[in-house]
Amino acid sequence: MEPTKTEFNVMESTQTDYSGTLMVEDEHELASGERVMTLNMGPQHPSTHGVMRVLLKLDGETVIECDPMIGYLHRGTEKLSETKRYAQIVPWTDRLDYTAAPQNNLGYVLAVEKLLGLNVPERAQYWRVIMVELSRLASHLVWLGTHALDIGALSMSLYTFREREMIMDIFETFCGARLTTNMMEIGGFSRPLPDTLIEQIRNFLRVFPNRITEYTDLLTANPIWLARTKGVGVITPEAATSYSLTGACLRGSGINYDIRKADPYLVYDQLDFEVPLGQFGDVFDRYLVRVEEMRQAHKIITQALNYIEHDDRPMMAYESAYVMPPHMGTMTTAEDMQRHFVWVIKGFSAPIGEVYHAIEHGKGEFGIHIVSDGGSMPYRMRIRTPDYVNLGVLPHMAQGAMLADMVALIGTIDIVLGSVDR
C-alpha cells in the first residue's frame, strides 16, 4: 500500500502501523529505476544529541523508513543499582539525563520516600520545587539552543546557554556541582542553605522574563523558522496517547496530562500555575508549549521563593529512623552516634513491597518503580525515562518526512541519550 503524503505528512493511509517497522512491506513495489537508498545518520552525528544511529531508507528526498538504533551509552544503571544501597544510588541518577540532574534525583528520592512512607518537612519540599523548576528551565534552554542550531539559527544557542550559565551558578552555590548535582537526599536536605543563594536566584528571576521574549522575537515571527517547523512531524492526539508520549510531546498534541496537576506531589497543589497545550501537534506547537512552560516555571519559582524565603524551620526529617541523624547529634549524644554508625555501615532496611512514583520531568513522565525485598538494597529498580519512550514515536513521525526535517524531528522530541540508554 503506497503511503500517500499529505501536505503535512500526516499519514493518510488508514492501515498505518505505528510500531517500530513500517506497514509498507519491505519489497516496496516502487517503479523501477529510482533507487531506495539506505543511509546511516551515524552515531557520531552533530544533531543526534549524543550517540544515536538512525538507519534511514530514503526514496530520493523523502524518508520511507527510519529505525533509531540506541544503546551506545547503555551503562546498566538498573543492574548496578541492585548491588547498591538506597542512598548510594542517588549519584547514579545524575548521569541519566545529564542536562536535568536535580529532576532525576527528585524522581528517585520521592519514590524511595514513598516506599519508606517518609514525610519530608514543608520547607525542604518548597526548596525541592525551586531546584527542580530551575533544572526544568536549564533543560528547556539546552533543548531550545540545540533545536534552533540544528535548524540553522546559529546564535540562538549562544543566547540560551548564557541564561543556562546563571542557573548553573545557582546550582553551584547550592550543592557545589554544576551538572552532576546529587543534591537530593532521602528525607530532605541535611546541610544549611548558603546565604548568597536567594540573592542569586532573585537576580536570575528579575532578568529571565525579557530574555524569553528575546528568544521568541527571534524565532516565533521568523518566516523561515515557521516554514521549517509548521506542519512538520505531526503527531495526532490518538497517536500520542497510543505511543505513551509524555511531557511537551503529548501536550503539544492537545492532551492535558501534567503530573504536577494530575497527580500532585511535593507542594505543587498549593502553587498556582497553568499547563500549556498545543492545538495541532507539530514541531511548532511543541516549541510554543515548551517556551510557555519556561514562563510557568519562572512563575512557580517566584511564588515558592516568596513563600519560603524567610523560613528557618528544619529541612531534614530527623525523627524518622531511615534518616542519618544531624551532625551535631552524632558528635554529642551516644544513640545518635550509634544510629549514624549503623546507617553508614549497613544502611536502613526498607519495608517489603512495590512502589511506582512518577514526576513531571522536563522531558516528560520520569517514573521509578522499586521492588523491595526488605533488604537495604532495592531488589529491582526500573527507571522509566521519558526520552526512551518518546523516541519510540520517531519512526512513526519520520514517515514521509523530508531528509532535512530529520534534524528538526529529533530536536522536537528533546532527547538526551544518557536517559534514553540508561
Binding site: F8, V10, M11, E12, T14, Q15, T16, D17, Y18, T21, M23, D26, H28, L30, A31, S32, G33, E34, R35, V36, M37, T38, L39, G42, P43, Q44, R53, L55, K57, D59, G60, E65, D67, M69, Y72, G231, T236, P237, E238, A239, T241, S253, G254, I255, N256, Y257, K261, D272, F273, E274, V275, P276, L277, G278, Q279, F280, D282, L288, V289, E292
Partner: protein, 236 residues
Amino acid sequence: MSWELVFFAVFSAAMLLTGIGVVALENPVHSAISLVGCFINVAALFVMLGAEFLGVLQIIIYTGAVLVLVLFTIMLVDPNKLPAFYVGKPMQRNVSAIVGAILMVELGVAIVTRVALEQIGPHTNAMVDQMGGNVQAIGQVMLSEYALAFEVASLVLTVGVVGAVVVGLPNRLGALDTVTMSLGHSRGAEDAIAAGPKFESPMNIPAERYVAPVGERKVVMTKDPDKYTHPGETSK
C-alpha cells in the same frame, strides 16, 4: 608575427585539442570537462572577432547551463549501464575517419579558392564602437530586421522547455537495488531491520481532521487537570 596571430594560434590549438579530447576520452565526465575547455576557447575566438556578447553568451548558455545538465545526466545514469567505449564495430570507426579526412580536404579546397566577400554592411568596427559597442549593435539589428525571428525563437524555447518537463517528469517512486553506505560505525548485524510479523495498528488517524489551523497558532492554557483530557478538545 602580430600578437593577434599568437593568440589565435593558442586558442584554436587548445580548442581543437580539447575537441579531440571530447571524442577520444573514455570516461564521459572527462569528455564533458574537455568540452568545457573547448567552449571557453570558442568564446575567446568570438571575442577576438569582436563579438563579445556572443562569447559571454556562449559561456553562460552552453557551458553554464546545457553542459551542466549533460553532466547531471551523466552522473545520474547508472555507471554500469553506460555502453562500453569500444563496442562499435572497428570497421565503423575507420569509415568515419576516412569520411572525415575527405570532408576536411574538400572544405580546405573550398576555403582556399573562395573569393573574399567585400564589405557590404555598415557595421565596421568604428561604427560599432560609435553605437556603443557590440551588444547595442546586435540589439539594434535583432529587434529591427529580425523581430519576427526573435518571436519565433522564443516560441521554440518555450516548446523546448515544456517538452523537456513533460518527458522528463519522474513519477516519484522507484526502487530496485538498495545501496547501503555506512558513514558511521556500523554496529551489530547489517540487516538491522529484521522483518517480524506485521501487525494491524491499534488505531487509525482520521486524516481529514488534521488540517493545520491557518493563521495565528495559540497555546491553550489550563489550570484544571480534568479539562482537555480527550483528543481534539483543544483544537475546537
